[in-house]
């Protein structure tokens, strides 16, 4: 079920090129040789999974490519996708000491991709399942957090079952990452590589509450890990919301990553929001060939939460912006959206007096956040929510001693690398709990 060959070949995402292309051997060697091999390196400190970056780069420069990928994957089994999707500008690369001497920082992400691409292509396998512990863990949600947790648990000999509501594993790596960073088939190939450790059962199409109860899961497993990510896109409750041509950004991205979207007749598109999903969406729409793409946000450039380097790139690609703007109604024509009625907001974020104005658009995507987990965890004793997130301690433990959580559902929506780090940390805590005797 993680067979990437069953993805349609004519997916809309297939037309995108890599915005940071792969390094060739000569480039990788030259870049690796530039690394200063820092001690207590700041790049490592900025990596949520703590990859020993100077070490893996040194191994590239000595020609020990297999060892290089091992250093990466030992710390982060999703090293391949993280190499492509991490906002390295604000993580490892942002920490590179070359920045301090106004020299270009080391291209850590691209070097990491160089090593991990080689490992996945050659199917170099480094990790074996530990001796059977007789314990079992159920993991709810099949994204990077659960998969990283399961991989770590397998190294320690615990049996794992992943329950995922959808068809494909990999979470947002598969359905949500911008295709110029990572395509769905590559994400699925990585999932297959992670599952390659063996002993991870997968039950797809299973939704807790609908298909199985928490009690049943707790009866089946010694511990549970919840890594279900975030819910559906939030919508705008304004007149015209039933019109065609309106979609949630996350839902839309999933559609064109896994299949085809038809944008014939879309001359102008608006993305509402100012976060990273919004910035991805505008760049993707440009890449899909929409002639005029506008980001519409109630704040401004300084207030938006999307990464500055990504937004800069979007502007270079021709994306327009409407700041301090709020939609008040969709404008329709023949049952489809034809534009947005908007008002300008003042410094106090209240609408300024006046009529408002209309912005034409044949497609409107909403990137104004995703629904939090409401009733999902109801009935799971001891597990608490705070602001829609699952409340966990630094080890990913919830208030229920047998239930752990990590990834977006616990952190509110961060990067893949955070999900991996949290999944791994929770796995270590689960292992401690299981091996020191807490059981059903």
């Amino acid at each position: 079920m993680v067979d990437s060959r069953t993805l349609p070949e004519d997916r809309s995402e297939a037309g995108f090129g890599d915005y940071k292309p792969a390094l060739g051997p000569a480039q990788a060697l030259a870049e690796a040789n530039r690394c200063l091999y820092c001690a207590d390196a700041p790049c490592v400190q900025k990596c949520p999974t703590g990859i020993d970056i100077p070490e893996f780069i040194r191994k590239i420069s000595t020609g020990n490519l297999k060892g290089s990928a091992r250093t990466i994957l030992d710390a982060n089994i999703f090293g391949m996708s993280c190499a492509r999707v991490c906002p390295v500008e604000v993580l490892c690369v942002g920490g590179c000491v070359y920045n301090e001497m106004d020299a270009p920082p080391i291209a850590i992400g691209r070097l990491q991709r160089y090593a991990t691409d080689a490992a996945l292509a050659a199917d170099w396998r480094y990790f074996e399942a530990g001796p059977d512990s007789g314990r079992s863990v159920g993991l709810i949600g099949g994204g990077p957090a659960s998969l990283a947790a399961a991989h770590e648990l397998r190294r320690r000999g615990h049996a794992c079952t992943i329950y995922d509501a959808g068809k494909w594993l990999g979470g947002l790596n598969t359905t949500g990452v911008a295709p110029y960073k990572l395509r769905a088939d590559d994400a699925l190939a990585e999932v297959a590589y992670v599952l390659g450790i063996g002993g991870i059962a997968v039950e797809s199409g299973v939704q807790v509450g609908r298909d199985v109860t928490w009690d049943a899961l707790l009866a089946r497993h010694d511990a549970l890990f919840i890594g279900v990510g975030l819910g559906a896109d939030r919508t705008l409750d304004i007149p015209g919301k039933e019109l065609g041509g309106i979609d949630g950004a996350v839902a839309f991205i999933e559609k064109f990553k896994l299949g085809r979207v038809d944008l014939a007749g879309v001359q102008r598109a608006i993305v509402v929001g100012g976060g990273n999903t919004a910035v991805d969406a505008v760049r993707e729409l440009v890449g899909l060939g929409v002639p005029e793409v506008t980001m519409l946000y109630r704040g401004d450039e300084a207030a938006m939460s999307g990464y500055e380097h990504e937004w800069k790139a979007a502007k270079i690609e021709g994306v327009r912006s409407l700041w301090h703007t709020q939609p008040t109604a969709y404008v329709g024509r023949d049952g489809r959206v034809a534009g947005l009625r908007c008002v300008k907001l003042g410094a106090d974020k209240r609408p300024l007096p006046g009529e408002g104005f209309e912005v034409p658009a044949e497609l409107v995507l909403l990137a104004i956040g995703q629904a939090r987990l409401g009733e999902l965890v109801a009935g799971l004793g001891g597990v608490q929510l705070e602001g829609g997130r699952l409340l966990v301690d630094a080890d990913g433990a919830t208030g229920n001693p047998r239930v752990f959580a990590g990834g977006d559902c616990a952190n509110g929506g961060k990067e893949v690398v955070n999900a991996v780090a949290e999944g791994k940390r929770a796995a270590l805590a689960i292992d401690r709990a299981l091996t020191t005797g807490a059981s059903k």
Binding site: P25, E55, G63
Partner: protein, 430 residues
């Protein structure tokens, strides 16, 4: 299958057995017990303790380096002497390290003068738990002016005599550390052998002057207003070390185990040293520059190399390159190669063109203008196969040296002189 499980890295150098062939050389990284224990934790299999003798007083500064085109310290130079720490402290720490790390190798380097001093120091080193001794006949500065170090290593009779004392007094294997500051290494290795040594280690540092402060007119490293000659080491000395190691390894009269030293900076260097006959390798400069952590990649890289080449022990691969290290007179003069440029890889820098024109045989030419390419053309009728172009080409595997069938049977210079075997016509000699 897990990474590298079928390979055994255990190394045996003249009876000194260590879990892997990677040792710290006798130098600052092996100056104290606390350092050596950290090194063992990082993965080093053995350590040769910083040379013990009558503790000395050092100068500052004491190091210099050769930087080349932005790469720092491709060569390294020092004017430091042997240990400056009290002997009792050193011996106490040796005992502690051996107690905590019984499986690792602790080899104690010694440098003293009289027979009685050698007897005394050897007894104390062995009492402390030394797994082996290394006689420092190699230090090229300071100590030799006092009649020790390379003063001994340069005088085969003295080398043999002191070695025989050490062997007489020692109950553990004795390695003799040789100086490269000699014209031929073999007489010195053979002297150590006659003295009864269980093995040799080489090279120590090479006499050098690393640079001049061009504003102060003082050589480096500057000690107040003066400087002196030092010992050269680091990546740049590796070819010299390998030549000397290879000379001993292929000497049929020699045959002692070798611990190779000089410019080892990564697993590839170690592989080369072992293929050239070494049972272990020692590292100083790379650790001084980058720390004990470099051993991780060395172990992993060597393991993977052995696995991919089907070697399961160090002994199986040791010396595999020695038979192919021969003499000029045995090389096939009729073997002919020409340079071939891969047009798909060439980036058109013309580094090969200028090198061939000014430094070789004027046979790589820019393509004619009408060809519309910057890929140069090799005139194979003139190419002597010197491979200078291959060396300067910045693109990996872009220029290859292809063997040419010229119809001549192999013939060496020796065969030409003794049997008159026919040689191919010379190329490029007009």
């Amino acid at each position: 299958m897990a990474f590298g499980t079928s390979v055994d890295l255990t190394s045996n150098t003249g009876g000194i057995v260590t879990p892997n062939p990677f040792w710290l050389a006798s130098a600052p990284p092996a100056n104290s017990g606390a350092q050596i224990m950290r090194a063992f934790d990082a993965g080093w299999g053995g350590a040769v303790w910083k040379t013990l003798g009558t503790p000395i007083q050092n100068v500052s500064s004491r190091f210099g380096a050769l930087h080349f085109k932005g790469t720092r310290a491709i060569g390294f130079n020092n004017i430091e002497l042997i240990t400056d720490r009290p002997l009792e402290v050193n011996f106490r720490e040796i005992a502690e390290v051996k107690k905590r790390y019984p499986k690792h190798g602790v080899i104690v380097s010694l440098m003293v003068e009289t027979r009685d001093e050698w007897r005394d120091m050897i007894k104390r080193a062995i009492d402390a738990g030394a797994d082996g001794l290394e006689l420092n006949f190699g230090c090229p500065h300071g100590m030799c002016e006092r009649g020790m170090g390379s003063a001994v290593g340069q005088e085969p009779a003295l080398n043999e005599k002191i070695t025989s004392w050490a062997v007489e007094f020692s109950t553990v294997p004795v390695l003799v550390k040789l100086t490269p500051n000699v014209d031929e290494i073999n007489p010195h290795g053979l002297a150590a052998k006659r003295g009864g040594a269980h093995g040799v280690s080489l090279i120590n540092t090479i006499k050098s002057l690393i640079g001049i402060d061009i504003d102060r007119f003082v050589p480096e490293p500057r000690v107040s207003g003066l400087s002196t000659n030092g010992g050269y080491c680091g990546a740049a000395v590796k070819p010299i070390a390998m030549h000397m190691i290879g000379s001993l390894a292929r000497d049929p009269d020699f045959g002692l185990p070798i611990s190779g030293i000089g410019g080892v900076a990564n697993w590839r260097d170690a592989v080369e040293f072992i293929l050239l006959g070494c049972s272990s390798v020692q590292v100083c400069t790379e650790v001084m520059l980058r720390g004990y952590r470099v051993v991780g990649d060395m172990i992993e890289g060597l393991t993977e190399y052995m696995r991919s080449h089907g070697f399961s022990t160090i002994e199986e691969m040791r010396g595999k390159a020695v038979p192919q290290f021969s003499e000029w007179g045995e090389l096939d003069l009729n073997y002919e190669t020409v340079a071939k440029i891969d047009p798909g890889k060439c980036i058109g820098c013309h580094a090969c063109v200028v090198a061939c024109h000014d430094g070789a045989h004027q046979c790589i030419h820019p393509a004619p203008k009408e060809a519309g390419t910057r890929v140069p053309v090799v005139d194979e009728s003139e190419c002597v196969g010197c491979n200078l172009c291959q060396i300067v080409c910045p693109v990996p595997d872009c220029i290859t040296m292809a063997a040419v069938d010229n119809g001549f049977k192999p013939a060496t210079w020796n065969e030409f002189v003794s049997e008159g075997k026919p040689l191919r016509p010379k190329k490029g000699a007009h």
